[in-house]
Amino acid sequence: MPMKIGEKAFFDRVDDALEDDFMRNAMASAQDRLRGKKLAATEGDEEIGDWEEWRSAGEEIRKHTLENLDYYLNQLSETFSKQGGHVYFAETADDATRYIQEVAKKKNAKKVTKAKSMVTEEIGLNEALEEVGCQVYETDLAEYILQIDDHDRPSHIVVPSLHKNKEQIRDTFRDKANYTGTEEPRELTAFARSQLREVFMEADIGVTGCNFAVADSGSISLVTNEGNANMVTTFPDTQITVMGMERLVPSWEELDVMTNLLSRSAVGQKITTYVTNLTPKVDEDSVDAPKEFHLVILDAGRSNALGTEFQSALHCIRCAACVNVCPVYRHIGGHAYGSIYQGPIGAVLSPILGGYEEYGELPFASSLCAACTEACPVKIPLHEHLITHRQNYVEKKGKKSEKMAMKAFGIGASTPSLFQLATKGMPAAMSPFVKDDSISAGPGPMKLWTSVREFPAPGKSNFRKWFENHKKGDDL
């Protein structure tokens, strides 16, 4: 599955990540920076007023749209088509890539430029286009870096090359693109720009994702900072936009709210450099617009969440605010998740889209600290979804030993006499392992704890007895 990153098992990927000190430091400092910028542009920005009200408005809009998804998808499809655009509903990733391949073949396309888009990563579009003889060019700087670095995969939804520093980027450019300059970001950017300039003008097809589609006007909206998306959508004669079927808003009014929420939450900007809105209809004599506009609306597992307790996971606007506050992502980075959707939303979304077989371990990679839920601009209860995934997972694939242990827990936690017996007996039972009031090498399941930390020795006094005496007035 193209959504998948790497072939290793989850824990091996985690081990690799934890060994990578450079990556971990990069993650930590990026998180601190992005979190700070986000807070300044949201809770800290007086101009915007009460951020909580914005979050509630965002949640309402997303909820309403998802609850009436059929209606708005129909409306979008109609308005988009009426203006001369072509709409294709793709049930699977394969359906989507097959359709796009057909378009490319019909157009006899040789060069394709792309703006950054996670959904095209999800369906493996580059490989599909290469199969039909197209050369695909990623034009977002971060995606360009990843592409020329032997098709490295994104490690962050908004900042895909977060796991690389400027020296590594310089080396990649030198090794793969005959770059001779320094690691100065301005110089690196200028180089990428010079490489891409010709390509923009020669492209036969431009491919974009879609931050939002506006149902009543049949437009797609792109929220970007680099300007490359505007180049991708103006030069080629054919444009193909791929969107997840949930990425739409009813009208411009809601788009206004969602764009505010997105740019402030994602990068701490009040508004991004470009907010580009495109409709298929063009004047006959227009020279700066595609003549053919295809909109591919993708399901690919999304409807698994519709009408279920996970529906609100589809509210996600891919801002990565949850990723930027997640203490687990902070230490393992994006590739360890094994999915192009990382962090808390990745741990919620990946099992919905790709199943528990592949992604069942991800919901357990969370301490349930709820920083993600607090950060989400559209109030997705992410940590609650993680718990629900865990419930589903243990029902289907839970280990027998753990099930037994939890059953024992249930019995122990509902039988006071047993609990008191255990509490009383514990100091004696644990005494062989106790030294200086703590346990350094515990038996059985305690091993994993004590390999890292001391475990407290069971307290010697009995609180219940103390309390009884205390009530009688003889605890002094």
């Binding site: 985690v14 934890l18 971990r24 930590a28 601190d32 506050v325 203490p327 687990v328 902070r330 230490h331 357990f364 990679a365 969370s366 301490s367 349930l368 600290c369 709820a370 920083a371 839920t373 607090e374 718990i387 995934h389 865990r390 419930q391 589903n392 997972y393 243990v394 029902e395 839970g398 753990e402 099930k403 939890m406 827990f409 249930g410 122990g412 936690a413 509902s414 039988t415 006071p416 609990f419 509490t423 514990m426 703590s438 399941p445 994993l448 704890w449 890292v452 930390r453 001391e454 475990f455 407290p456 020795a457 069971p458 307290g459 006094s461 609180f463 219940r464 103390w466 309390f467 205390h470």
Partner: protein
């Protein structure tokens, strides 16, 4: 005011001194304290691991033990938050849901109860030292209590409170997470300990024994000269240097 104590299984097994301090502070503030004997564990370990039915068993035991209480007070933001989860846990069972709601509605974390119900911000404690405070995730984010502990600690005589870098970051405990995802948890607690060290505090205070068990366990393993205490131990200190 009548207060029913939920002392938490962790406190009862490992931290009886914290439990005693809780009783003494509440009594000093004029509360009539009782201890419902049927209480065991809130069920969070099972709930968070995905074992809803087993969590329900624990929850029923707690609901039955506490439903007659006027107020329920516990020295753990996380366990208090689990009580607040009960009505949803019995989503499909009207009878238990109602009973769960009555318990959830009158449950408070220890410092939250002192500040918001007793309306006390200075408990008259004295504790000379330089300390920093670990804000437990479940208390701040699930229970929504962000102010109470720091208000109380600010008024402890002799106690200088120092800021903790990235205090919003989880310490890596997360119940079963600490063992299921042991290597990740280790890096998280390491970073927390590093930030505590950088704060230059001699003492780390928190309002949840779960987090304290994790951070203290790592501090002790690394042999760092930093004391770790539950907020109840600080609030029950009236003599210099004695807890």
């Amino acid at each position: 005011m009548k207060v029913s104590l939920f002392i938490t299984c962790l406190s009862e097994m490992f931290y009886q001194n914290v439990a005693k301090d809780v009783v003494e502070v509440l009594e000093r503030l004029g509360c009539e304290v009782d201890f419902p004997k049927g209480q065991i564990c809130c069920g969070q370990p099972a709930f968070n691991s995905g074992y809803k039915k087993d969590a329900q068993k624990a929850a029923k035991q707690m609901i039955a033990s506490f439903e007659k209480a006027e107020y329920i007070v516990t020295p753990s933001g996380s366990c208090a938050a689990m009580f607040k989860e009960y009505p949803e846990l019995f989503h499909d069972d009207e009878n238990w849901r109602e009973r769960a709601k009555s318990v959830a509605d009158k449950t408070y974390e220890f410092s939250q109860f002192i500040v918001h119900v007793l309306k006390v911000e200075d408990v008259g404690a004295i504790y000379p030292g330089r300390a920093t405070f670990h804000t437990s995730c479940h208390m701040t984010r699930l229970l929504g209590e962000k102010e109470a502990p720091s208000l109380l600690l600010k008024n402890v005589k002799g106690l200088e409170m120092l800021p903790l870098k990235n205090n919003y970051d989880c310490c890596g405990f997360g119940g079963t997470f600490a063992v299921k995802m042991a290597p990740i948890s280790e890096r998280m607690v390491d970073e927390k300990v590093r930030h505590v060290e950088e704060s230059t505090a001699d003492l780390l205070i928190a309002a949840d024994n779960g987090c304290l068990m994790n951070i203290k366990g790592r501090i002790n393993r690394k042999g760092k000269p930093i004391e770790v205490k539950h907020i109840a131990q600080i609030l029950n200190s009236r003599v210099e240097g004695v807890t």
